[in-house]
Structure formats: C-alpha cells, structure tokens
C-alpha cells in the first residue's frame, strides 16, 4: 500500500510568446518560488527535485537537470529529469509523487518548462534522416490526418472543433496566467482563420509559449503543516506504445484507454463523467477534446463530439474540461502536462480563482505526447484517498 501524497504548493509563470526578460533558470525559479510560497516553505525544506521538459532539441540544452541543479536548490540533494515528449509534465509529476508514495521523501519539488522562443519546435519535431523522404509537417501535420480519421469515423459535424476552440479561449479570459486572451472570441473568428494543416485551422491550434509550472508534493505528515488545503493524489498512471505497428488505432490509442482504466480503478471511479467534477486534458488541437472524451471513457465511441456540442464540457456544463483555457490557450510544451495536473489540483483545493468549478472535489489531470503514444494521468481529490 502506497503512502498518501498531497499537493501543497502550486506555482506558475505567466505564459507568453517570449519571456526575453528571464533566463531559463530564472523562468524556472519564478514558478518554483511561487510553489514554495504557496506551501510556505523555503528551498531548504525540499528533499528532492524532479524536473521535466520536452525534447532537448527544442532549446538545444542537453541534460538541463545538470545545469539547473543549483538554480533549483538541489545542491546536495537528489535531482532527476523525466522525458516522455509532450506528456512529460504529467510523467514528471507522477515520478515526483512516486517518491512520496514510496516513503522515500517528505517534500519533493517538481517543475516542468519550455522556453519555446529560444528555438523552433516545428524544426525540432521534423528532423529527417538520410533514409527517409522529406515530409516537413510539424505536430499539426502529424495530427491532422488522425483528426480527419476521427471526423469520418464518428460522423462529427465540421463545427465541433470550432466550438472547442471558442470554449477554451473563453475560459482563458478567466485565467491570469493564460497566454492567448482573445476578447470576443467567436465561431466566426475561428472559422475565418486559415487552414494550416487541413482540417486544422489556425485558431484550432495551440500557441507557442514560454513558461514553467511547479508543484510541491508532500507526505501526509508534511501536509499537516501546509497553510492552505492540499489536494490528495487518488491515482496515477502512465502508458506508452510504439508510434506505428500493425493494428494500431492512432485515433483512440490503446495506451490512453489502458492508462484511464488504471487510474479510474485506483480512484474507485466507474463513471468518470458522473464521478469527476472537472478535468484538465491535453488538447493542443481542438478536435482532441471529442477524441479524448471517447478515449478516456467519458462517453461511448463516436459520442464525444455530442458532449462537446451539448456544452457538457463548458465551464457551466456537467463535466467542465479545461476550465483554465487548456493547452489551446497556453503551450510551453514540456510544462503543458504539468499545468493540467496542477490546475486539477487547484480546482480541488478551491484555489482556481475566476475559473474555479463550483464545488470541485475530484479532478482528472491528463497529458499525452509523441505520436499520441505516451500517456500520463492523475486523479486528485479534496479528501484523503
């Protein structure tokens, strides 16, 4: 039986196109200090540090954990780096939680980040070998065919993606940290933007952001001294699968279904739509909301778009998804998964501010990465598990 793990501190930077005013270490420290402040702790109270970011080519910094150790107060302490592509923010939090649940440490600082302005993610994601043809497509080009397959398979009408693009940006207007703030965002506005990778329009994609997110995780004993209500980890899961293999379902990958089933079992959840109060789910392209609604078992196959269309996932719906504005509104890639996990924690702590879901007591945080092949999820609650 694992020890209990609480989230007692959350810190985020504002997410922006370019944070030229800070160094990479400065960006991380900004988030870390806010998380420590939330927990009313100092660097010396931390036992270990777990960091995560997306592929090294994004900023061209190899083994960032080595150059950041002292900047993150890890001198003389364990520090490790987690790496699971876009899901890394989630996986990083899960590795940190494991250090508490395994009884190894009392308080662990975990941070994930990206400083996209230092490079070009599309370049980094499209590095061809001499053996392949050049197919410069970036992340949008990779996911667009799978979205098209979903649309065809589910019979979803064309405007569903637009609805998500609008809904998440409306939510972002209530989140002080969100990057994209588009007052008056509307379906017409989204539909008037060009197709980048048909069927994905410009405003149906995530922005490119600089930013960091940090959390302080604590044992049950350490959480007793926390100044504000903690969130409790009710379950964590990770799954991965190869990017291509015969029989793979790239639209609704088995790895995602398995990870969801695992985390629900740990949290004692049989009907996620009814038993969860809200979810922060990795939706970098608008159509991934209905796709993940199905993959995560919030509804049956080909039914996800109906939930979106009916407004079930809106802030005032029965199962709000991405009240923070989600990845569609802020995307410091390596941090994006941790932001989902941290926002889920903020919701059940009742500290989400203007985008608080009333009475949220149990929430899902979700991240995926690579060619939809790495999955990380946790469920957090206001009550001890």
């Amino acid at each position: 039986m694992a020890d209990r793990c609480a989230i007692i501190g959350v810190g985020q930077t504002a997410y922006r196109t370019k944070r030229l005013d800070v160094s990479m270490a400065g960006l991380l420290r900004e988030a870390a200090k806010r998380a420590l402040e939330d927990a009313q702790l100092t660097w010396k109270d931390i036992d270990a540090v777990v960091v995560g970011k997306a592929p090294d080519l994004f900023e061209g910094v190899m083994m960032p954990e080595t150059f950041l150790a002292d900047a993150l107060g890890a001198t003389g302490k364990p520090i490790m780096r987690v790496h699971t592509a876009g899901s890394v923010g989630g996986s990083t939090a899960i590795v940190a939680a494991g250090l508490i649940q395994g009884g190894v440490h009392e308080r662990v600082l975990t941070i994930a980040w990206e400083k996209q302005s230092e490079s070009n993610a599309t370049w980094a994601l499209t590095v061809n070998s001499p053996f392949t043809t050049s197919l410069v497509v970036g992340a949008g080009g990779y996911f667009a065919p799978h979205i098209r397959a979903y649309m065809r398979r589910s019979g979803a009408p064309d405007h569903i993606g637009t609805l998500v693009a609008v809904k998440d940006r409306q939510n972002a207007l209530k989140n002080p940290y969100a990057h994209l703030k588009i007052p008056g965002i509307s379906r017409e506005m989204v539909e008037s933007t060009p197709m980048l990778w048909e069927p994905i329009r410009y405003l149906e994609t995530c922005p490119s952001s600089d930013g960091a997110c940090a959390m302080v995780l604590a044992s049950e004993d350490a959480a007793k001294k926390a100044p504000s209500p903690p969130a409790w980890v009710h379950g964590t899961s990770m799954r991965s699968e190869p990017m291509t293999f015969a029989g793979r379902d790239s639209v609704s990958p088995q790895g995602g279904k398995d990870a969801a089933a695992d985390v629900y079992r740990q949290a004692g959840i049989t009907d996620p739509r009814r038993e969860l109060d809200c979810a922060e789910v990795y939706v970098p392209f608008s159509w991934y909301e209905p796709m993940w609604l199905e993959n995560l078992g919030f509804c049956g196959e080909s039914e996800g778009w109906k939930l979106t269309e009916a407004g079930a996932t809106a802030l005032d719906g029965d199962i709000p998804w991405n009240a923070s504005g989600g990845v569609l509104s802020s995307n410091p890639i390596g941090a994006s998964g941790m932001i989902r996990f941290a926002e889920a924690a903020l919701q059940v702590r009742g500290l989400a501010g203007e985008h608080q879901v009333d009475g949220a007591r149990r929430a899902l945080g979700h991240a995926y990465g690579g060619g939809a092949q790495f999955f990380a999820m946790w469920i957090v609650g206001s009550d001890k598990p």
């Binding site: 050049s134 410069v136 497509v137």
Partner: protein, 314 residues
C-alpha cells in the same frame, strides 16, 4: 546630408589652426577626467539632485552645486530618441543610428549621445525594439583623451546570446532498414511478415512492435495502395514541397500498416480517403539507397475503396 540634396563643396573655409583651447573648470574638468578613466560622474545640487553632465550651478535655482561628485550608470535608460536614417559625414556613426537622451542610473538628468542599435542599411526605418525605456550602456573607446567622444556611442544591454549548435553523425540504418533500402534501390518494396500476428510490416524493422518478436520472412509488396487519411499542408517550409502539399497515410496492398508519404499528381482538394494510388518513381538512373527514389504517390484509375475496408488501419 546626401550629396543630391546637401550643400555643394564650400568655396571658402575658416578654421583656427589647431583648434581653440578651452578651460573646462573644476566641474566639467572632473567629469572629463573621470570619462578618460572610463567612469561617468555627475554632481549633486544643493537640492540633492544629480546632474549629468555636471555643471557648476543648479540650472533650476542658479545656486552653486555642492562639491559632491557621484558615480552614475554607466547603464542608463533611453528617455527619448530621434532616428537618423542617413548619417552625414560629421555624424559619429556611419550607419543609421539614433540620437538619444539617456538617463544614467543614479542621475536625475539625461545625457545626449549617439545610440547604435545594430547594422541597418542606409535609409532604414527605426527598428521596433528601439523605444523609450530601453536599457543601454556606453561603448568606451580603448584610447581616451578626456572628451565626450571617449564614449563612442551607447548600445543596448545584452539580452540574448546566440548559441550555435551542430552535431555530426555517421548514421547507420541497421540490418532491416538496410535490406529495405537495398530493395528500394532496385525499385522493390520489401516488408516482413510477423510470425505471430501474420501482418506485413513495411518498412520492416526486423521486429514486430506489437508482438515483440523478431521478424525475418521477407515479403515483396506492390507499389500500389490506398490512401487511408491525410492532411493538406499549407505552411511553407524551405525543406518541404510547395504548398499546398498532401501528406497521406498509404496502405500498400497486402501491408498490415500504413506508410506516411506525399500524394501528388492531383489537386490537393481532390484527394480522398479510400483513393487508390501508385508510387511515382524517379528515373531509374537517379535511384539510390533512399526512400527519395519514390517522389510521391499519385492516383490511379481505380474505384475508391469503401471506408469500411480501411477504417481499421487508422
């Protein structure tokens, strides 16, 4: 000024031989002496303000300043500026620059100097990053003589550095990919049949990622197949074909999984799921051990495959 609008050559010149000699007095003298040593100083007024450059009197009151000199800057903030798109020969810089009022840190007044913001062609508009509030520092001349020209100009503070990175590889594709590319170099598409799931994996990897077993049974596949799904790419990239281009998953006839390829030879908006396609090979004399031997896949005159038959390959 440029010669086409400027004055013509003078026909009479007055120049005092050697230049006038001026006494600078104790206040400006101190300022210039400090400049020669690479420091910026101001003088404090009776009201407590720091004047840079210093004067012997407080311009607000006419009272003498105190004898307290204060080191300021050398960093400072631009309070206002004027862009010079076409420098004249008397100007301190030979390329477009700004005259700027710069308030050194710790001073209450601003100093006028040239501000170099980088390399611009003559006539260029001011760059967007040039604005009041910008942080700048002096560029000192190595040989100083005690004049305002000891500061060649001001320049923006360092905000970013460039970190060139280059890694060189000797990539080897491995046995399975090597064999596949050998086939491609002969115009053949080879795959492996998995002994467990019996699906044909192309290009083969020498293993089945799903079953976790080694594969070795070679199968030659035709160069025809079916588009399962695709994207129309509208983002230009120097490494990519001209936009719009179609990247598609093609299920080769007999294969157990799709390959990501280009589809061309048809307007992008006419590409369909289920469309039948065939590889368009480059001329045989250009073939090498690379997938580039196949330019793209293009449509063939066969009826589309019903969605039901391809839906499990997405």
């Amino acid at each position: 000024m440029p010669s086409d609008t400027g004055p013509s050559e003078p026909n009479h010149v007055l120049e005092f031989p050697g230049g006038y000699t001026r006494s600078v007095g104790p206040v400006i003298g101190r300022f210039l002496s400090e400049l020669r040593d690479g420091r910026l100083v101001g003088v404090r007024t009776a009201a407590g303000k720091v004047l840079v450059p210093p004067s012997e009197y407080d311009p607000d009151t006419g009272e003498d300043v105190t004898d307290e000199f204060v080191e300021v800057g050398p960093a400072g903030t631009v309070t206002t500026w004027s862009w010079v798109p076409r420098p004249a020969k008397e100007h301190p810089l030979g390329r477009p620059f700004a005259w700027a009022l710069i308030r050194p840190d710790g001073a209450d007044t601003a100093i006028l100097h040239a501000l170099d913001v980088g390399v611009f062609e003559e006539g260029a508009k001011p760059p967007r990053f040039l604005k009041s509030g910008m942080r700048v520092r002096p560029r000192w001349r190595p040989d100083r003589s005690g004049g305002i020209g000891d500061i060649e100009c001001f320049q923006p503070e360092v905000t970013t550095i460039n970190a060139p990175t280059r890694l060189e590889y000797e990539l080897k594709g491995g046995r399975a990919l090597g064999r596949f590319l050998e086939g491609i170099s002969q115009g053949r598409i080879l795959g492996h049949r998995c002994p467990v799931c019996e699906q044909v994996i192309v290009p083969m990897k020498g293993l089945c990622p799903r079953d976790g077993v080694a594969t070795s049974e070679e199968v030659e596949l035709p160069d025809t197949g079916t588009v399962t799904t695709f994207a129309v790419n509208n983002i230009p990239d120097p490494r990519a074909p001209e936009v719009p281009f179609v990247s598609a998953y093609v299920l080769l006839d007999g294969a157990g999984l799709t390959m990501l390829t280009l589809v061309a030879g048809i307007p992008a908006d006419q590409v369909r799921m289920g469309m039948r396609v065939k590889a368009a090979w480059r001329p045989r004399e250009e073939w090498d051990r690379t997938m580039a031997n196949i330019k793209w896949f293009e449509p063939i005159d066969e009826p589309d495959v019903p969605f039901e038959e391809i839906k499990d390959f997405m």
